[in-house]
Symmetry: C2
Subunit: 335 residues, 2 copies
């Protein structure tokens, strides 16, 4: 077994593009645009929906409120332009972030539209949460500059972005993309092996599958599952991941002691699930009913506001303790 090269912060050089384009301006695209605007980048936005600008303004409002609360500057904003077409949006861009609907044929079509008008060396990042870049770039004219740049919502607050190249992406362009994401105030992690769903969504998919079966089988409600997360291991994972947490469980003997102590338990076949349950009308109704009972007393906009307030508070705590995501905020404050 080879131990892969560790991710190094030094592999890329931060570079803030002067002109950027956001193609697809739903919640994710609007949050990308907000992050870039707050960093002073001028952003061209393309989205066929008549609601796109309203979504952008609402998300930008949330982002400005959150950055104000966090004490990051919000007074050097770039300007945005709603472009009439993808071609118009990308014509001058150094960096383009694609956040179109999550269907391979849509992604391929949108990428073709982008390429027809964009500079040949512009970096194109895709927000896909699972489609391999090799699939998306197969028919591109300049496939070497396509990366996946997979963010986590709210994109204007959560710093991580998974950067994944395909067969035809050059390492140089992966580094260029990392440098731009870093300049947007993010922590770009290079996913060195191309797999479906990358790293984070592999973990999320596993939890999702398990949680859906628990609801489907009547073992637990959505609220009970969420409560166990938010009052238990969720608080751990906001600051230390699975492995660092288990290292502590191993005590002074470290990770080897943890494996020796818990190894057999860890291998117990608590679950052999492979699939998600079928989304039958009954299961969908159950999920909707339980979710309404759990959260229906809050408007979605209120939930977003509460979420952002909590995240801002957590990031301040982590920055004060010089730990994890707090260090990314500290870097931003310097820059």
């Amino acid at each position: 077994m080879t131990v892969p090269e560790l991710h190094s912060e030094l592999d890329y050089v931060e570079y803030l593009p002067k002109k950027a384009a956001v193609v697809g301006c739903g919640v994710i695209g609007a949050a990308w645009a907000s992050r870039m605007l707050l960093k002073g980048v001028n952003v061209m936005v393309a989205d066929p929906s008549p609601d796109a600008e309203a979504i952008l303004l609402e998300v930008l409002g949330n982002a400005v409120a959150a950055w104000d609360d966090l004490g990051l500057p919000t007074d050097k904003q770039g300007s945005y332009t709603m472009a009439g077409s993808v071609a118009e949006a990308v014509a001058d861009a150094e960096f383009i972030q694609e956040s179109a609907p999550e269907r391979p044929e849509v992604k391929v079509a949108v990428l073709a539209e982008i390429e027809a008008a964009a500079p040949a060396d512009a970096i194109i990042g895709s927000s896909t949460s699972g489609i391999k870049p090799s699939v998306m770039q197969a028919d591109m004219a300049n496939p070497e500059r396509l990366v996946v740049g997979h963010p986590y919502n709210p994109v204007y607050l959560l710093p991580v972005v998974e950067v994944v190249g395909g067969d035809q992406t050059t390492l140089e362009n992966i580094r260029r993309a990392q440098g731009m994401y870093a300049a947007f105030g993010m922590r770009p992690i290079h996913v060195r092996v191309e797999i479906d769903a990358f790293i984070g969504d592999r973990l999320l998919e596993a939890v999702w599958r398990e949680a859906l079966w628990l609801v489907n089988d009547g073992v637990a409600t959505t609220q009970e599952i969420d409560d166990i997360m938010t009052h238990g291991f969720g608080l751990r994972w906001a600051q230390m991941g699975l492995f660092e947490t288990y290292r502590i469980a191993g005590g002074v003997g470290g990770f080897r002691h943890f494996i020796e102590q818990f190894g057999p338990t860890l291998d117990w076949p608590y679950s052999k699930l492979m699939d998600t349950p079928d989304f039958t009308p009954e299961l969908v109704d159950t999920l909707v009913e339980q979710s309404n009972a759990q959260s229906g007393m809050h408007e979605i906009r209120d939930l977003e506001r509460i979420r952002d307030q909590n995240l801002v508070g957590f990031l301040k705590v982590l920055e004060g303790n010089k730990w994890a995501a707090g260090n990314v905020v500290a870097e931003q404050r310097k820059g």
Copy 2:
């Protein structure tokens, strides 16, 4: 499909036992004892290890520091006694928490020792993270008072405890156990259907399995996986669980819109893993080497201190925002 009765806060009555016993005083047992002592309960402790008292004092020190930092009272501590035997520890106890090694035959033997000396109606809670209470209680004389009370470490800070009854446990005793855990400042969630690993560890097991394969297959290092968690979805789950987060993703259309929008994607077979990889010496070495590279610069005691500082900070943020685990802290402050 039946929608199970929602967990109700009103099903139990808080009751602080005057005398409690902790059987098994490793990190988990010591943290249970610390939580009880800080609430003013007198605790008898039984553990055959000569290190047990030192572990208790170290964990209690961490717990006092954390509660001081959180602004919870630490001046009404109960007293602890290191008992010479399990029999001595449990003879007078109203409540007994068992935290023996995680092997069914050990649990059964320790429970028999407890029962031989404890009052017949004392509640016995087991810290097992996966063994079914029905299995543990099969040969008990008074099986109706055995529950699983599965906590999350650090037990003195994380409020959740999963309360699970077996075939022979009465609902009345489940409610009595919930009332005692609540009096220790916890959020007792009744797991109404008895399954291996209950709810939280089913989710943890799914993530663990996926993460181990990612390391085993050389896709990612322990540090990269942890970084993606702590800079991404970990920050989400400290305040909103899987379902509430996805409800937000559905926008004003709510959970039904989320399922409709993402349903097909959610069903993509990103992963078909059923098992953990074999813990070959090579895999163990890889894990240890990567964990050392990631966290080896910190002593375990320092990691514990940093973890607790971060948790205290998060709990204060959540309390200020009247949200999730912060509400449990607010309740404690009143009491």
